[in-house]
Amino acid sequence: MGILETRNLGIEFNGKKILDDVNIDLWEGHVHAIVGPNGAGKSTLAYTIMGLGGYRNISGDILFQGESIKDLRIDERARRGMTLGWQEPARYEGLSIEKFVTAAVEDKSHKKIREVLGKAGLNPNLYLKRAVDRTLSGGERKKIELASILALKPKLVMLDEPDSGIDVASLRNIFDAIKLLKENGSTVVLITHSLEVLNQAEHAFLMCCGKIVEQGKIEKIRKYFEKKCIPCTHENIPDLNGGA
């Protein structure tokens, strides 16, 4: 059953279509990937689904568990069970990791915080009392954000470039956390242009120039992506007949 569906979803900025008639159907409990070159509209799609400011003036519809959410605020969408992990997570001066991770969860126990930090690849003893501020690298903030999402146990999570800023040794932690989200019943959407991240998914969509140009099993999308979209000129939508 589809947990999230977009129907002819479109958004324009300065008269330019950034999302153009996008139709996707995300299956509950699956790991999906949305791949495509830079500027394809992948992040815009995630921001639009989440309802971020500047991404609200849409055409078409977004259905979450069968109900339209296009008029809901971000927090209302989040309370229905969806969330977003940013490509470059925000910094918060003075806000402790402990408070950030448990900001919206009922279980604020140290045991829980330690557990999710550990699962995101962070040593709780070193991070628990630190702030989510400029003293942390982008990769560290990425893991902290992932820990906060693990604590949340969302129904749907969209992770924008989950490997961005992550060192090779830590990549395993990120992939393990994605598996764990799936095991916990979350539907996961990986926004990526990395084949390694794509390989963590079960199903993928290929985007280019604001359109979904192909979808299917990852083997098919990987082949297509390798052949047609690296590099992509952004000028033309790939020739669907010549690929996969």
């Binding site: 989040a78 940013w86 925000a90 918060y92 806000l95 408070k99 919206a104 954000e145 949340l152």
Partner: protein
Amino acid sequence: MDGVEELYRLSKLDKALEDPNVGHIVINLNKILDKRLIPGLEIDARELEDGIDARITVREGTVIEKPVHLCFGVTHEKAVQRIKTEVEIQENAEVLFLAHCIFPNAVDVTHIMDARITVGENAKYTYLEKHIHGEYGGTKVYPKARVELGKNSRFKTEFELLSGRVGLIEIDYETVCREESVMEMTSKVSGRGNDIIRISEVGHLVGEHARGVLTSRVAVRENAKAEVHNKLNATAAYARGHVDCKEIIQDNGIATAIPIVQVSHPKAHITHEASIGSVDTKQLETLMARGLTEDEAVELIIEGLLS
């Protein structure tokens, strides 16, 4: 009732003051309710008609391990309290003063603090001033300090409003830093309603290798106003300083930041950064994407900034 129980309860001092090794003085308006001295700490306090005149000395070479608590309270609804202090931290001494300024019932309470502070050579002095106000916004607070730092001394002060409405706060601190001394002055205040926050922090780096940081963190919401004047002045070789002011505004709040950096020695160096604006959109949307409402998210961001 002399108010001591209310002051202890609000400042959560009960447990700390049971320790015989913790020095303290507790004042309600112009009455000294309680006092404990420990070796090396002298407090000579005199009750005035509208406050207290106190001379506080930490003797040469004395290192006081546990914080000394200074509780300046006014449990009355209307009053004026003047606290005049002369603080001397003598050579090689070390102490942390934790000042609890508590005005829980203030409808019209004015608290005037006038401090002269000298920190001797190689001495370390930390002064943390924590305010607990009532919800009426009827408090006017005028903390003023003039500080002289001796060679290689350390001075750190932090002003923080922990709870309740600001009312009116006018912080006026000025520090002169001699050779190799280090000064850190920090103010953290959050205003709402018709609160008015005025902060003036001035540092003079007059000795070689003197260092200083002025930090202000202010949030104004509803119709509150804030003005932050930070001035750092370096006149000696290798003096180093930084001014850092961040103000968040919401609703109809108005914030002003006036950082002044002045250098009159070619080998001195001072930097400054100031930002005023609404809560960062990405910070806000990240927390909202976890399920916090906009108000809850703003509250958490400001709490972090002022923590």
